[in-house]
Amino acid sequence: MTITSTTSTTVALDTVVEAGDGALVTVPSGGRLQIVDLHGNQAVDTLFYDAHDIDNRYSAFDTIREQRAVFLTTGSRLVSTRLDELAVITDDTCGRHDTVGGACSQESNVIRYGEFTRHQHACRQTFLRYGAKAGIGQRQLTHNVNFFMNVPVTSSGGLTFEDGLSAPGKYVEITASRDLFVLISNCPQVNNPCNGWDPTPIQLLGRW
């Protein structure tokens, strides 16, 4: 099910991230990063930082406002708190992605599902672990993109988590508008349908 390069650009990165694991990837300006949902319905929690100034970081709600729409797909510009363009979604075979729902944490799991989830692994544990080597700590964590995740927002102001629209082999491609750190958590959540109740591996394919 892995995808192989079909262009002449060098494949600089080709790796599988296991369910519940993460990655910190440096993508140079102009580089293209594909995230492949190998088995379908797998939420991939992702943060973007200017590699030369991590305070210039992805802003979910500025991105939503600038495009006047909640869901992300091809053409969505991912902007920072300074309104700099960090990256653009340049290909998307899934159709839409969430950036309202944030990342799971041990603490938010307790609130949502109960005390029994206190010590289950969660995305923000992964973010802190992989972000540390880039200087990304608790203060630098912000609200992420959830690739392949389906969080419908309704005209009456409601919000739910639902089964994904994704399927095995669906992918999304991000093209970096400047040198970036891309911090990824392949979500381990088992208490809601965001991973189809069964977290699975993803593939990262970088061309630059």
């Binding site: 006047r68 708190t81 608790q138």
Partner: protein, 205 residues
């Protein structure tokens, strides 16, 4: 004895204040189309308002009475105890705001603390179309509209009265009133919100 505090924040300004646990914060729109963008930082000066966690644990895409505003670490920061409006925007952020950034800097914070905000008094409607398209609602808040929060731990609140980023109208003044009631009962809350409040009272409040 704690005195009440009132202040009128003029349009296009920024303001910040500490708010002790148990106090209430009432904002009043002093003109039609007012906007009050708020950031909240918790008692330990690291834990911040987390809009995604607030929304997904209470199945809402807007801020309304009967919601607990939750922190990054799953604690209750404040409870929205009353409002004349049932929709306060929290999906469209705020433009870079030098005055708000200066207020953060006065308290030792800065750009890394520009977490998601609430735009009190503003509404951005969501369409039931494939992208969930957004439209700023021009006739939402009117003079005299209010919202009241109860602080559930010691807070720092940061407020900007710049116009909403999607509004082409003028900015408007907002009145702030801090009071110390003997007791502010919980409004009707979801079980997730009750859990957050209980944990907060057990751990830090």
């Amino acid at each position: 004895m704690t005195l009440d505090h009132t202040h009128e924040v003029p349009g296009g300004a920024a303001w910040s204040a500490p708010v002790r646990a148990g106090r209430t914060i009432t904002l009043t729109a002093l003109a039609d189309g007012a906007n009050a963008t708020m950031l909240i930082i918790g008692a330990d000066r690291l834990d911040r308002l987390n809009i995604p966690d607030t929304l997904k644990s209470q199945m809402s895409a807007r801020i309304k009475p009967g919601m607990v505003l939750m922190s990054d670490r799953g604690l209750a920061l404040a409870t929205v105890t009353a409002s004349t409006l049932d929709w306060h925007d929290c999906l469209t952020g705020a433009l870079p705001d030098q005055l708000l950034l200066l207020e953060l800097t006065k308290h030792g914070f800065g750009e890394p603390d520009l977490h998601a905000c609430i735009n009190f008094f503003s509404k951005v409607s969501v369409a039931d179309d494939p992208r969930a398209s957004l439209t700023y609602v021009t006739d939402h808040a009117h003079t005299g509209d209010t919202v009241t929060l109860r602080a559930d731990q010691d807070l720092l609140i940061f407020l900007s009265t710049a116009s909403h980023a999607l509004s082409d109208g003028p900015s408007a003044s907002v009145a702030v009133r801090l009071e110390t009631p003997d007791h502010t009962p919980d409004p009707e809350l979801r079980e997730e919100a009750i859990r957050a409040l209980r944990l907060t009272r057990e751990l830090i409040a």
